[in-house]
Amino acid sequence: MFRIGVVLLGGLVMVAMGAAYFVRQVGLSADRTPGRVETVIARNLVRLSIPAEQAAAVNPLKNDTDAWRRGHTLFDSHCAVCHGTDARGATPIGKHTYPPVPDLTASAIQRFSDGALYSIVRHGVSWTGMPAFQHTLSEQETWATVAFIRKAGSLTAADLTPTDTAADVSHAVRVVIDGTRFHPDDLTVSVGEPVVWLNADPFPHNIESSTGRFHSGDLAPDATWQWRPARPGTYEYVCTLHPGMKATLRVK
């Protein structure tokens, strides 16, 4: 009995020393990238931490083909700051947290059940940047957000154009990227008015708001990207590829 106690104590001391060694060696900074093993273990722990009955819950909005649109608006307001408007996580915040914000369109995340995603949004994930949203979003809103997460990987420009205001796009406000500059570099639009960026340069540019509210990913020559502001505000944005390319979008 005494011997077991000593062995256990010894084990605990070793674990503590291991943890201390790890912290000394690696530190607790967020400025690093988790290894593949750590990622796989962490993902599985998250999955295992969700009670089976919650994971098995069926999205009550699964037959509502427009649920993802409401989810998109909610995602834009609550999630995009870290996850990006496209849910791919490549935002200034998302890239530099530990662990980094995952690409929600990736198969590793899409493998989670609707119920599991719902549970994660409701309760958050400890030791990551993911907060609990049960005090912010209603149950219906959370399910709509889950519907958007399912849709995010296959969004097309047409999906982002609400059917009732399709005509808007033809006179969407245009920002032309030409000569490594945004023209105009200071633009005012109304809430809900789509803004289209056109890359007229012979090499890629991107559009990234300084707060991560929107980001386009790299835009090939002649490609366009559209964003429809959901909330008023002043958005500073840059092309991360070309320092010095700065512009402002004001939404009234």
């Binding site: 000569g179 500059r181 340069d201 090499f203 590829l241 320092p243 010095g244």
Partner: protein, 174 residues
């Protein structure tokens, strides 16, 4: 010793380059050759950085140089074809070419942080020289308005590349 002499040689080449560029009065066919060579030189160096750089940011910068300069070159080549101009070799294009080859040779002997620093330092100097050449020689001498327009249009990208390279230079430490 060998490295020092290579560095000295390169420094001499770098110093000689702007003089060569500034002294020239060039015609459109020669400008076309200079533009294409200047881009190609940076594409070659960028390709090397894509594989040999140790710092992820330097690697990404190298990749972007390949993408951006390939894009510019494609547009330049399209324009030259449209205008029916045959690029004409000239001392400036030749000096760019040999300077680029020397740089790639020098870089391919380096590894790790040493490579990163040497590549980035050269990128700063190179983009500064190309900007000087654009301002003093290429843009003022370009006769065809489309060619002049293209040079004016791509100039800010070279400024952005220079800024980007300088930022990397600071983050790497000299």
């Amino acid at each position: 010793m060998k490295r020092i002499s290579t560095c000295a040689l390169m420094a001499a080449a770098l110093l000689a380059l702007p003089a060569a560029l500034a002294a020239q009065t060039v015609n459109d066919a020669q400008i076309a050759a200079i533009v294409v060579t200047a881009n190609q030189v940076d594409i070659d160096a960028g390709k090397l950085a894509e594989t040999n750089a140790s710092d992820a940011k330097v690697k990404a910068f190298g990749k972007q140089m390949v993408t951006d300069h390939t894009g510019v070159n494609k547009q330049a080549t399209d324009l030259v074809t449209k205008l029916g101009v045959t690029p004409q070799d000239n001392p400036t294009a030749q000096s760019l070419k040999s300077g680029g080859a020397d740089n790639v040779k020098h870089l391919s002997e380096l590894k790790g942080k040493e490579f990163d620093r040497a590549y980035v330092n050269h990128e700063v100097d190179y983009h500064q020289q190309v900007l000087d050449a654009l301002d003093k020689t290429l843009i003022p001498n370009a006769q065809n308005s489309d060619l002049k327009g293209l040079l004016v249009k791509v100039r800010p990208a070279f400024v952005a590349h220079l800024e980007h390279a300088k930022m990397l230079q600071t983050s790497l430490g000299k």
